[in-house]
């Protein structure tokens, strides 16, 4: 049994159950008397509900009940939105539509039956009569005067307008020789596509007035509060359990109407109910990501120094706010200057309602958009001034000595060395050689492209002052009488592997075997409080809470051992299963100290029996991980296909606690970010019908589409938390998208191509090539 030290590559505690098919996801939860739900959903993007006739469905064999929006009115709360934005319009968002439907897939009625098959059959017999209303799908058209309104109670389709401004724009605009570059960049709508769709089991026990909910969620504690408010069951009679969760990527950082309905139905019938989302429903009615139009204006000096950046963001919010819908594009504004010292900034963000599913947090959540904007800007500047993209970046990086660095956007970057990651990735890729190869191939009519991205992101969310509902995290550590350690975390990891990371923190702190530590999370009945897993916060914020609880316990144990050994507590260290003086002259076994503490026969005066400590860690700032990525692509001139030949990523997420897990996060993130650049787009037609409603149509990347990724790290610790860890869950997705697009545009530069919008599918590239050869 090895003592796991921080920084070691160590096998995951999660794996044994998952590689044997023994994990328990929501659909694996079975309760006696379980009923099944299925939802009738709108086939229209916008329509008035004239009538809902449930007679036939209700009469179908095996159907227990059918509820419509009208049945639930006043009995179940609205789907909540937690985003606090000045002047934000928050339209009513019932769990089941009442008078009007506003996107395809909006739930209208729910069937409760004794099997999932029966429930789905009966949904077909729910007769809804619709009166179609004018549809608005394009957010720019939604802004036009006289556009159909998504919410007739609102004056227009604008949910909010937010402005962010900094620097001396007057002086800059008057500066002689300043060049202005303009470009429209589109960040297309995506679907998160966690491999496990959403699902919920709600079980209300009338005797105890107790509501227990199993949900595939990233935020069990927040969900508990919200479901209590929605269902009317007191919060201290609610328990939410996130069992094994099959991926989230932000899509399960939410509170959904179906969850509210499930709670209501279970309470109304006094029976447990289960709803498992189908993939079609998942693509229609689980939040979508991205979907912004970004018009940029770059103010650049002749030497390539970017002095100012303006951006007008049109964010397509969809028809309703989900939990954080309007907050996501404001993160884009916050991170728009990226890794560069740009003194003047202006961003106007307009959140717009359209007849589509809500957008919300999808891996990166607002920062991939920002990174895409600024990294495309850097390449546009390089192309315009005929400079090397490397030189433009180097010229605009702040010096490592400038950190902590306060920016005109209102955030303060904690620590970075952007030069170091860029140099490292250039070396790994052999940049100079690559450029020569490119030149050679160009002469042969081959299109090789080299693309860079030197990103920075905002992570470890975050200080409570800047979060809608608290940014702290809870951790507790308890040593059992047998010396085994039980850790509770308020985070809710769902694949990231923190059962392992947290155990490493605890085992290395106590100097005990990793095997002796068990981490529990995702159950509000077990973990007293928590925020959850999102925003690359789990290790940096949640891990720190655990680390600090360990430190508190060690202090107590040292006092107890010192009393016994006749030394001072400060002389003791925790090593190899012992509490000992340096050198080990005087020592007690860890287990002996535990016994002293718990059996409490001879405790020092004033020391409470037992070994349990908790900590609620409140970070003073966000963290700002960064990195440099380089993509090499070759475009096939005959088919327009982009072949990703090489991908190099150097990421700096602060101190690395488990390199294997960090690598896993980077690799997974890369594929999602590259997926956006090359293939993925969630498409509605002009009538608001979803065209990418199955996994045959929505292009989730597959194994054969990628080369081997070359990844490496640098470590620039943060001072925001004592672990020095910044967070890594989203870095790959944030950094990779612009590297690919920059590479493809670079490949096609000899044809005069300046920009192509994502996804860079063969057809699109082929058309570009064809029009270029025609010209």
């Amino acid at each position: 049994m090895a003592t796991a030290l921080l920084g070691e590559r160590i096998k995951r505690k999660e794996d044994p159950r998952l590689i044997q098919g023994r994990g328990h996801y929501v659909d694996d939860i079975v309760l006696p008397g379980l009923l099944h739900l299925a939802f009738a959903r709108s086939p229209h993007a916008h329509a008035r509900i004239k009538s809902v006739d449930v007679t036939a469905a209700q009469a179908a064999p095996g159907v227990v009940a059918v509820y419509t929006g009208a049945d639930l009115q006043g009995k179940v709360g609205m789907v909540p939105c937690a985003a606090g934005i000045e002047g934000l319009k928050v339209p009513e968002h019932p769990c089941l539509a009442v008078d009007e439907v506003r996107y395809v897939g909006e739930p209208v009625a729910v069937v409760v039956a004794n099997s999932a098959y029966t429930a789905r059959d009966a949904v077909e017999q729910v007769e809804v009569e619709y009166d179609p209303l004018p549809v608005v799908v394009d957010p720019e058209k939604a802004l036009a005067p006289g556009a159909p309104r998504v919410h007739s109670k609102l004056a227009d389709n604008v949910a909010f307008v937010a402005k962010l401004e900094g620097g001396d724009w007057k002086a800059l605009e008057a500066e002689p020789g300043i060049k202005v570059i303009r470009q429209r960049l589109i960040n297309q709508r995506l679907a998160p596509v966690a491999m496990e769709t959403r699902g919920v089991v709600a079980s209300y026990s009338p005797g105890e007035d107790l509501l227990t909910v199993w949900s595939s969620t990233q935020i069990p504690h927040i969900l508990k509060t919200q479901l209590a408010l929605m269902s009317g069951v007191e919060e201290n009679h609610c328990r939410v359990i996130a069992p094994e969760v099959g991926g989230g990527f932000g899509s399960k950082l939410n509170v959904y109407g179906e969850e509210g309905v499930a709670c209501y139905v279970s309470k109304a019938l006094g029976r447990p109910v289960k709803w498992i989302e189908s993939r079609r429903e998942n693509l229609q009615a689980t939040i979508h990501g991205r979907d912004q139009i970004n018009d940029v204006e770059v103010y650049v000096r002749p030497d390539g120094k970017v002095a100012g950046l303006k951006c007008w963001i049109i964010a397509d919010l969809g028809a309703y706010h989900q939990l954080l819908t309007p907050a996501i594009p404001t993160l884009t504004a916050l991170m728009i200057v990226g890794a560069y010292h740009i003194p003047c900034v202006f961003v106007e963000t307009k959140g717009v309602f359209t007849n589509k599913m809500a957008t919300d947090a999808y891996r990166g959540a607002g920062r991939p958009e920002a990174t895409y904007i600024i990294e495309r800007v850097m390449d546009l500047v390089a192309a315009e001034l005929n400079l090397d993209p490397v030189d433009v970046r180097m010229k605009n990086f702040p010096s490592p000595k400038d950190f902590p660095l306060a920016l005109p956007t209102g955030v303060t970057y904690d620590s970075a060395n952007y030069q170091r990651t860029l140099k490292k990735v250039l070396k790994a890729a052999g940049y100079t050689k690559l450029r020569k190869e490119q030149e050679r191939l160009r002469k042969k009519g081959r299109y090789l492209g080299i693309g860079l991205s030197t990103y920075v992101e905002i992570c470890a969310m975050g200080p409570s002052s800047r979060m809608p509902a608290g940014g702290w995290e809870f951790g507790s550590v308890r040593i059992e009488p047998t010396g085994k350690v039980t850790v509770l975390s308020g985070t809710s990891p769902h694949g990231q592997g923190e059962e392992t990371t947290f155990a490493q923190i605890v085992a290395s702190g106590f100097g005990i075997p990793y095997e002796d530590v068990t981490v529990l999370h995702g159950d509000t009945g077990v973990v007293p409080m928590g925020i959850g897993t999102f925003g690359s916060r789990t290790t940096a914020v949640g891990g720190t809470a655990i680390y600090l609880a360990v430190e508190r316990l060690k202090k107590k144990m040292a006092r107890i051992a010192a009393h016994k050994l006749g030394v001072k507590p400060g002389e003791l260290e925790f090593k190899d299963g012992k509490v000992q003086t340096a050198g080990g002259e005087k020592a007690m076994r860890f287990l002996e100290v535990v016994a002293e503490a718990i059996f409490a026969k001879q405790l020092p005066p004033g020391v409470e029996p037992g070994l349990v400590e908790q900590c609620v860690f409140e970070p003073a700032n966000f963290t700002f991980p960064f990195g440099a990525h380089l993509a090499v692509v070759e475009v096939d001139p005959d088919t327009g296909e982009v072949r990703l030949r090489n991908y190099y990523a150097v990421d700096d997420c602060g101190r690395v606690l488990n390199p294997m897990l960090v690598d896993g996060q980077i690799h997974g993130g890369l594929v999602q970010g590259i997926g956006q650049a090359l293939w993925e787009e969630h498409v509605y037609d002009e009538n608001g019908q979803l065209l990418t409603g199955t996994l045959m149509d929505y292009a989730v990347p597959r194994a054969h589409q990628f080369p081997w990724f070359e990844t490496a790290t640098t470590e620039t610790p943060t001072r925001v938390n004592p672990l020095g860890a910044k967070g890594v869950g989203e870095a790959g997705t944030i950094g990779s998208t612009p590297a690919i697009v920059n590479a493809v545009v670079d490949a096609l530069r000899p044809l005069g191509v300046r920009h192509i919008d994502m996804p860079l599918k063969p057809e699109k590239i082929w058309r570009v090539l064809r029009s270029a050869s025609a010209a």
């Binding site: 159950r17 998952l18 098919g21 491999m195 694949g495």
Partner: protein, 158 residues
């Protein structure tokens, strides 16, 4: 409800089940046999999360009825470890961090198992191609490819 009674052979054991004729093999395995390793990821045979072996060949258990598996030998992820010992693929998946949320993992392992049976000494590209019918949204695939190559090496050594 009209039901049929039939016998399935799964992981070497015989099970008598009584289901609606239309019940999918995936749902029979999960609900009637309690074998929840195979997962429903897309319900139309695209993602591979429901993959099981039928007479040694991978099939999408979401695309066939339970009753169609009568007379066949079905292996699910629960039947891959033998006598308490993990299969080399399972061990290498863990060693190479070839899984994160674990939802696609049973299908991935079974797809790899079939593939390595026919290609004991594969190249990286062959592995990628062989696994391209199974979606994973977490890992980025490199670690999975790595694990399969490592398992192949180990299985060749016996």
């Amino acid at each position: 409800m009209y039901t049929l009674t039939y016998t399935l052979t799964v992981n070497g054991a015989e099970y008598s089940v009584q289901t609606e004729p239309r019940k999918l093999l995936l749902d029979v395995l999960r609900e009637d046999l309690g074998l929840t390793g195979p997962h429903a990821g897309c319900e139309h045979g695209v993602c591979g999360a429901c993959t099981v072996l039928m007479d040694g060949r991978t099939i999408r258990s979401c695309l066939m009825f339970g009753i169609q598996a009568v007379g066949a030998r079905i292996i699910t992820i629960e039947g891959v470890a033998q006598g308490g010992a993990l299969h080399p693929l399972q061990e290498e998946f863990s060693l190479h961090h070839a899984l994160q949320c674990g939802f696609c993992t049973p299908g991935m392992i079974l797809a790899a198992l079939e593939f390595l049976g026919e290609h004991p000494d594969p190249q990286e590209d062959d592995v990628r191609e062989a696994l391209s019918g199974n979606l994973c949204r977490c890992t980025g695939y490199d670690s999975i490819v790595d694990a399969v190559l490592a398992a192949a090496r180990r299985m060749r050594r016996g």
